[in-house]
């Protein structure tokens, strides 16, 4: 009997098909872009101490208010404020609270360069003579065309416009220039929106936080308090001013056609549709981004949704912070790059022409980088001078006690593989990029004049970093500074086409970009092994075209717009 039963049981179990018997083999595991172990030449060395840079942006978190104000952080800029040909560094100061529920600003810091060293020139430049709002961003441009770069500082409670007096000092002129703006601002961009030859200003506003609107947000553990997320607040309408052509500004917001209630953090002005005027792209936090098409007169229409650049690939509104425009595939059509919040793919929108873009992060290996990053200062830049634009992005969390991602985060160094794919090589690019940081603003430039891109990075409550590019490629380069004459001196909106024997590259002189920061105004090209630029074509903002031929590589060019 037992034998019979045992036989039956054996049959009943043994006759069941194992899952593997059905003829389907699991998909072969494949190596993703993130795990590619390809080598890179890119090396970025932190030389802050060597250069004497010692500055820390403060957000006032020690007060315990846990306000959303603290989460934003600060920005940086490269500018040659004293006209000595050496880029100087300007960094925002941040702020603190008190007494009681009051928000106070800390002054920005100006670091003057002298032969490869930075010296604190804040006092001598008169920056400490002013009071400041709690500040975040820095937008630099010579708005009054006097040959010296001026500075706009954004922040909570208002803007601060510092006029460069040309004698090594700045004078605060906000009110007299008409830039009264009590809203909380972050990113800002200069550019000639209405084609009158003078620089106008676009400022993005964030949310309606105040101590009267300051919800308590519990942290994960009893007694902890978390930063209240932006979704708990109303967004604010951005603002733009047109130059009055005599050093002042007129509020153009009511006529500009701006969308109500964005939650703007990043912005750039550039000729996105290549029609000869400046368009605007605004990175909003948690609501769809805006792409404003300009009619040439400063009237803007948001075409982001129909253009495919307002949201993520699946129609989700990302938490966007940093932005830039570049041409990663060298097809002559400018593409848009957006650094987003955690669990969202950073967005690279490929320009298809005719105001249409395609979200290509997945195809280019960017979506597979992992969802931990909260991205801020960022930009296209040819770090290895091989002739295609790579991407750099700062990361760092906004929350104090995030459950799904670390507070301090490694940056992304995305090496461009000929426009086909991006590979994160941060772990190989040096000790800074392979370590987690609390980074925010990013300004790219070439303070050491060696032709490659160096980086100035602002951290929150930690010293800023200067990363010198020490990539040992032996590649050639060219930098171009454009000086406008028929349009604004800054030549924002100028388009450059550079042709060598092997390839053609495209750049634009942009206003704004990155996060709360201003990069070196020079356009920087990597030429790979090419030692000769066969042709350089500049389309100036006023529309006419300048052609130069057979330019040797490895030089800093300053091109002045030809007169009539």
């Amino acid at each position: 009997m037992i034998c019979i039963l045992a036989l039956a049981i054996a049959c009943s179990t043994g006759c069941q098909r194992s899952p593997r018997d059905n003829g389907f083999e699991p998909a072969e595991p494949s190596r993703s872009a993130t795990n590619e172990t390809r080598g890179t030449a890119i090396r970025l060395q932190d030389v802050s101490s060597e250069w004497g840079l010692d500055w820390t942006y403060r957000n006032g978190e020690e007060s315990g208010h846990a306000s959303i104000l603290e989460s934003i952080g600060g920005g940086a800029a490269w500018l040659d404020y004293d006209g000595d040909g050496q880029p100087d560094a300007l960094l925002s100061g941040g702020g603190h609270y008190g007494p009681g529920p009051q928000v106070r600003g800390l002054p920005p810091a100006l670091w003057r360069q002298s032969a490869g060293r930075l010296h604190d020139a804040s006092r001598s430049a008169g920056l400490l003579d002013n009071t400041y709002h709690y500040n975040h961003g820095i937008a630099v441009a010579d708005y009054d065309e006097d040959g010296f770069p001026d500075v706009l500082i954004t922040g909570y409670g208002g803007l601060t416009l510092l006029h460069n007096e040309g004698d090594g000092t700045f004078r605060e002129v906000t009110t007299s220039a008409g830039l009264l703006d009590p809203s909380w601002s972050c990113g800002a961009a200069w550019g000639d929106l209405n084609g009158d030859g003078c620089l106008d200003l676009f400022v993005v506003h964030y949310v309606d936080w105040s101590f009267q609107n300051h919800p308590i947000w519990p942290g994960p553990q009893p007694g902890q308090r978390e930063i209240c997320p932006p979704r708990s607040f109303l967004g604010l309408t951005d603002r733009c001013w047109l130059s009055d052509q005599s050093g002042g500004f007129l509020d153009h917001t009511p006529d500009a056609g701006l969308e109500p209630e964005g939650k703007g953090l990043g912005v750039f002005l550039a000729d996105v549709d290549l029609d000869g005027d400046l368009d605007a792209y605004v990175a909003n936090d948690g609501v769809p981004n805006f792409l404003y098409r300009n009619d040439g007169q400063g009237h803007l229409v948001n075409i982001a949704l129909s253009s495919g650049v307002s949201m993520g690939e699946l129609g989700n509104a990302d938490g966007s912070m940093g932005v830039d425009l570049g041409d990663f595939d060298n097809d002559g059509l400018p593409d848009i790059w957006v650094a987003n919040y955690q669990n969202e793919a950073f967005a690279l929108y490929r320009n298809l022409g005719l105001d249409l873009f395609r979200h290509e992060s997945r195809v280019l290996g960017i979506a597979g980088l992992g969802g931990l990053n909260v991205g801020w200062g960022t930009g296209f830049m040819d770090l290895d001078l091989d002739g295609d634009e790579d991407l750099f992005a700062n990361n760092g969390h906004v929350m104090r006690y995030p459950l799904e991602a670390p507070v301090r985060q490694k940056p992304l160094v995305l090496e461009n593989d000929s426009g086909q794919r991006f590979v994160n090589v941060a772990s190989q690019a040096g000790s800074y990029t392979s370590s987690p940081q609390m980074a925010r603003g990013l300004a790219a430039g070439d303070p050491d004049h060696d032709g490659d891109v160096d980086l100035l990075i602002v951290h929150t409550n930690e010293p800023a970093a200067l990363l010198r590019n020490e990539t040992p490629t032996g590649h050639h380069w060219l930098t171009i500074r454009l000086v406008g004459t028929r349009g604004p001196r800054e030549a924002i909106g100028a388009r450059v086409r550079l042709k060598t024997a092997g390839r053609t590259q495209y750049r634009q002189r942009k206003g704004g970009g990155s996060f709360a920061s201003t990069s070196d105004p020079r356009l920087m090209f990597g030429l790979g092994d090419e030692q000769l630029v066969e042709q350089l074509e500049i389309i100036w903002p006023a529309g006419h075209v300048q052609l130069l031929k057979n330019l040797p590589a490895d030089q800093h060019l300053t091109l002045i717009e030809p007169g009539t």
Partner: protein, 440 residues
């Protein structure tokens, strides 16, 4: 060994008789006949006795499978048991449990009725009815019996907890769910199931990081628990942690290469990493098994769009949107595909839907946060439910509206919303019921 050989030999001789060589000695022949006859008698007796014992064995196997969450195997044993005895009360009761655990509550009710007719004791049936009510989210009727059930679990403690947890999740009563989980976990610390349920609660609360922690703990407790791996993989994939997600999908696929959800999750991760051929192959394999699978069709549409074949993508996405008009991702992809292929007028309504949906869902997110601190707010629950029905997951919307009716059974607007939903889903009986209740 020698003795066994001796016992086997006679049987062989009966199978292969030697050619007769004339009459043999009589005593030997009788002995052979005696042995043969005795063997036959024993065989017949064994077969007669084996029937009931075998039935008991089937039922015990079914119980074991139920306990081990091997529901498909449990069903096989129970089908066999009912084939042997269609009126087996025990088998019918076990089938009722099985149907309930698989969420087919009306089937469970039918089996309970049959079990009652077959003579199963009312007390046992009543327990199952309470569990069915709990699982259906009718907690008002089931909850008073929870303590009674748990104080005498009759070996079904886990099943009791699960039924109530399903009910709490259905009614979006997460605090109650977490309290019950605390108790379950304290009594059965090595059981991965409470960790899985805790993860599900955190998923509902959109606390993905905590959900992942729970699923990871469940995987550690029982590395073979595929449900834990699959849920963990889905959450990791949602956080774009595709490398980790792929590893857990792979574990599921190693155990069940045709697991549709694991295959789709695996392919989606590869898709996010920019791969084309392998995800396409997997999507097509899934469709070969199930031609209507929407995730696979949507994945192929994504690949088609990336390849710039917008007209082809539009055709697939239009079908998907027709089947599930509230899916934002498909509506957005359809809109962009239409726009890019020059059909801006057709794209516009889809863009408008996505814009409205994003705004509504952002608002719903705020309401959900409010509900964490004010779970009894019927107005918030109704708002969330209506929004989800219109712009998000219909099943979640229905669950939220049902949670409204739990708290306020005569909530007219909730009945009306549910009636409208069921009408749109071609479920006239349910629609009519809610219409009646809305009017009463």
């Amino acid at each position: 060994m020698k003795r066994r050989q001796k016992r086997i030999r006679p049987a062989r001789t009966t199978q292969r008789p030697r050619p007769r060589q004339g009459p043999g000695p009589v005593p030997g022949r009788w002995r052979k006949r005696f042995v043969l006859g005795s063997g036959l008698i024993v065989l017949v007796a064994a077969l007669c006795l084996a029937g009931p014992a075998w039935q008991q064995h089937r039922l015990q196997q079914a119980r074991n499978c139920l306990e081990n969450r091997q529901l498909a195997q449990a069903r096989q044993w129970l089908d066999a048991a009912l084939h042997r005895d269609p009126d087996s009360g025990e088998a019918l009761l076990l089938l009722a449990r099985l149907e309930r655990r698989e969420g087919r509550l009306s089937n469970a009710r039918d089996y309970l009725q049959r079990a009652w007719k077959a003579g199963v004791s009312p007390a046992r049936l009543e327990r199952q009815q309470w569990l069915a009510l709990a699982q259906a989210g009718q907690l008002d009727e089931a909850e008073p019996h929870l303590n009674e059930l748990l104080s005498d679990p009759q070996g079904e403690a886990a099943e009791i907890c699960e039924a109530f947890l399903n009910g709490y999740l259905r009614a979006y009563r997460f605090d109650d769910a977490l309290r019950l989980l605390d108790a379950w976990q304290a009594d059965f610390p090595a059981d991965p199931q409470p960790r899985i349920y805790r993860g599900m609660v955190f998923e509902h609360l959109m606390m993905t990081g905590k959900a992942i922690e729970e699923y990871e703990a469940a995987c550690r407790l029982d590395p073979a628990r595929l449900e834990a791996h699959l849920r963990l993989a889905d959450q990791l994939a949602a956080l774009l942690r595709d490398e980790q997600a792929l590893a857990h999908y792979q574990i599921c696929l190693d155990a069940d290469p045709r697991h549709p959800e694991a295959r789709l999750g695996y392919a989606s991760c590869l898709l996010k990493q920019g791969q084309v051929e392998q995800p396409e192959q997997i999507f097509r394999q899934v469709l070969a098994d199930n031609p209507g699978n929407r995730r696979a069709r949507a994945g192929l549409a994504q690949l088609t769009m990336s390849a710039g074949k917008y007209d082809e993508a539009v055709a697939v996405l239009q079908e998907l949107v027709a089947e599930q008009p509230t899916d934002r991702a498909w509506r957005y992809q359809l809109a962009t595909a239409l726009q890019t292929s020059g059909r801006a007028d057709e794209a516009r309504p889809h863009f408008e839907f996505v814009t409205a949906a994003n705004q509504a869902m952002a608002r719903a997110q705020g309401l959900l946060e409010q509900l964490r601190t004010e779970p009894a707010r019927v107005d918030l629950r109704f708002d969330v439910g209506s929004t989800l029905l219109q712009y998000g997951s219909a099943s979640e919307g229905v669950a939220w509206l049902q949670s409204v009716l739990q708290l306020e059974p005569d909530h007219r607007a909730a009945h009306e919303a549910l009636a409208a939903h069921y009408e749109s889903q071609d479920q006239p009986e349910l629609a009519a019921r809610h219409r009646r209740q809305a009017g009463s």
